[in-house]
């Protein structure tokens, strides 16, 4: 345990030096979100959270169900307004949803009466009004090719498998070319094999884009969090959830799914996350 800690400190230091040059894509400042609930008055989901995410960084939010990780992410997307505090995305105060932030929803949220092509086209049509019709169509084609679904473009979402639906949802989010990509448990409903290939697809798309996009992802899968992200934000259980700890992932990119599991950095991070998530009653035992 002691050894792990020293290693982590070293890694943290080298990382901070490397990251300093990148600007913040997302700044969350003292954000509290409370809801009015029918049964017991005011319910505070997340309490006074601050978090900065660098441009091009992949950060995952992890925690137990109902800990407010989705709420925190929704303050970035603008679907939820903070009760107090402020969120900045790409330097602008977040006042509502906007096409500079692409969202991939937990349950895909494709419109079932529109074909795969149309689902992406309406999004592009709304978000990128200045483009001509043919430019929009090209954009849809490019993104559908990217997720290998071009030949399925005429199908309705009801005819696709879960993995295919998720690829459509990802293509839709990428098509509007947002600077920030927000993924809410995007692979939660997929089987392990499909999930694995989706991880690689996602990183491929991120690479193709020169690793320029900032990605924030909500998950409760430790392996997924480590494989994909630069930092893992572990949250306390709600109500009034806060950040318990931010764990850096000391693994170089590109990462190989098969070989990283044998690396010391992977195993240490995995242990660390596991103990953070399981020993939720006594954090001092670990520290």
């Amino acid at each position: 345990m002691i050894l792990t800690e020293t290693e982590e400190v070293v890694v943290k230091e080298t990382k901070t030096i490397k990251e300093d040059t990148r600007p913040d894509a997302i700044k969350i400042e003292n954000v509290t979100v409370s809801f009015k609930s029918k049964s017991n008055g005011l319910y505070t989901a997340i309490n006074n959270i601050s978090l900065n995410v660098k441009k091009g960084e992949i950060v995952t939010l992890i925690g137990h169900s109902g800990c407010g990780k989705s709420t925190l992410m929704n303050t970035i997307s603008g679907m939820v307004s903070p009760t107090s505090g402020e969120v900045y995305a790409n330097g602008n105060l977040v006042k509502g949803p906007g096409p500079d932030r692409g969202i991939v929803f937990q349950n895909y949220s494709l419109l079932p009466w529109l074909s795969v092509f149309q689902n992406i086209y309406v999004a592009v049509d709304s978000a990128l009004k200045d483009l001509s019709a043919s430019e929009k169509k090209d954009l849809v084609e490019k993104n559908l090719q990217m997720v290998h679904l071009w030949e399925h473009r005429h199908k309705l979402p009801g005819h696709l498998s879960g993995g295919m639906k998720q690829r459509v949802a990802i293509a839709r989010a990428f098509a509007i070319n947002p600077k920030i990509l927000l993924l809410d448990e995007p692979f939660g409903a997929l089987d392990a094999l499909t999930k694995g290939s989706m991880h690689i697809e996602l990183l491929k798309l991120w690479n193709l884009d020169n690793r320029d996009k900032t990605i924030v992802m909500v998950t409760h899968d430790i392996e997924e969090a480590i494989f994909l992200s630069d930092r893992v934000v572990v949250m306390n259980d709600g109500p009034a959830a806060t950040i318990k700890e931010i764990v850096d992932v000391p693994l170089d990119r590109p990462r190989n799914k098969k070989s990283i599991v044998h690396e010391a950095g992977y195993m240490d991070t995995h242990d660390r996350l596991l103990s953070l998530l399981t020993d939720k009653f006594d954090i001092n035992d670990i520290d």
């Binding site: 096409p99 969202i103 929803f105 949220s109 009466w113 529109l114 309406v122 709304s126 978000a127």
Partner: protein, 262 residues
């Protein structure tokens, strides 16, 4: 699979004829019990053949062929149903999409909905100064409720997931209405229209009995005055058959617009 399907179709056809035979037997029994005061199928068939021989004759305002009577009723039903739907659909969309509109108009809907069509008839006469207008009016006002209620329910139950898509990708109001609200509400709306055409067809007979002139309802009343019970029975069978056809038509439309089944 295909063999089972044809067997199933065969059973359906057999059952259909079976049910026709049951109806005929009951009818004949009723005729026997009432000592032929209510005519049986055989004598009704004779009158039916006479009626159908010249369905579109026109000998003055009170003497028209059965086809003329039927088509003028269908015309009135569609006119009243059309006017009712033109009111019901926008109202339903408005009530479904806004809680304020729902609260504002729902009490009116709940009070007026259970009113019998016949109670509206004098008001219609007063407003339109004509039986024709009054008939269309009562059809419109009684057939609009199912459409209104189903449409507003459809719009009100759009899942948050679909709404979020509109929010996340910055849909304009028009795009939201055309790409999310209407497609989602459409199956509900068509269910409402299907119920509404059924109501309209129920109301037409009563309306035309009051209004007179021409129409299948008037034909029933006129046959009663002429003591031709065969004609009344024929009219009842025609009314039932047309009602069934209208329902099947809307059921086909409903099926065509339900994306869940595709």
């Amino acid at each position: 699979m295909k063999k089972i399907l044809t067997l199933d179709t065969l059973y359906t056809i057999l059952a259909f004829f079976g049910s026709l035979i049951i109806l005929g037997v009951i009818w004949e029994l009723v005729a026997i019990v009432t000592d032929r005061e209510i005519p049986g199928p055989a004598s009704t068939w004779v009158v039916f053949k006479e009626l159908i021989a010249e369905p579109f004759y026109d000998r003055g305002p009170n003497d028209k062929g059965i086809g003329n009577q039927l088509f003028s009723s269908i015309y009135r039903v569609f006119l009243g149903f059309g006017i009712g739907s033109l009111i019901a659909i926008p109202m339903g969309l408005a009530m479904g999409s806004s809680k304020f509109m729902m609260r504002l108009f729902n009490p009116i809907v709940q009070i007026l909905r259970p009113v019998s069509p016949l109670a509206w008839f004098p008001l219609g006469l007063l407003a339109f100064q004509a039986a024709e207008g009054a008939t269309v009016f009562i059809i419109a006002i009684t057939s609009l409720w199912p459409t209104l209620i189903n449409t507003s329910f459809g719009v009100a139950s759009i899942p948050a997931d679909h709404k979020n898509v509109g929010k996340a990708f910055g849909f304009s109001t028009w795009k939201y209405i055309t790409k999310i609200m209407l497609p989602f509400a459409l199956p509900h709306m068509i269910t409402g229209l299907r119920l509404a055409i059924g109501v309209a067809w129920l109301v037409i007979v009563a309306g035309e009995m009051l209004s007179g002139g021409v129409g299948i309802g008037f034909f029933v009343w006129d046959s009663w005055n002429g003591l031709s019970l065969e004609k009344i029975l024929i009219a009842i069978l025609i009314i039932g058959t047309v009602g069934l056809i209208l329902d099947k038509m809307f059921s086909a439309v409903q099926h065509a617009f339900t994306w869940e089944n595709k």
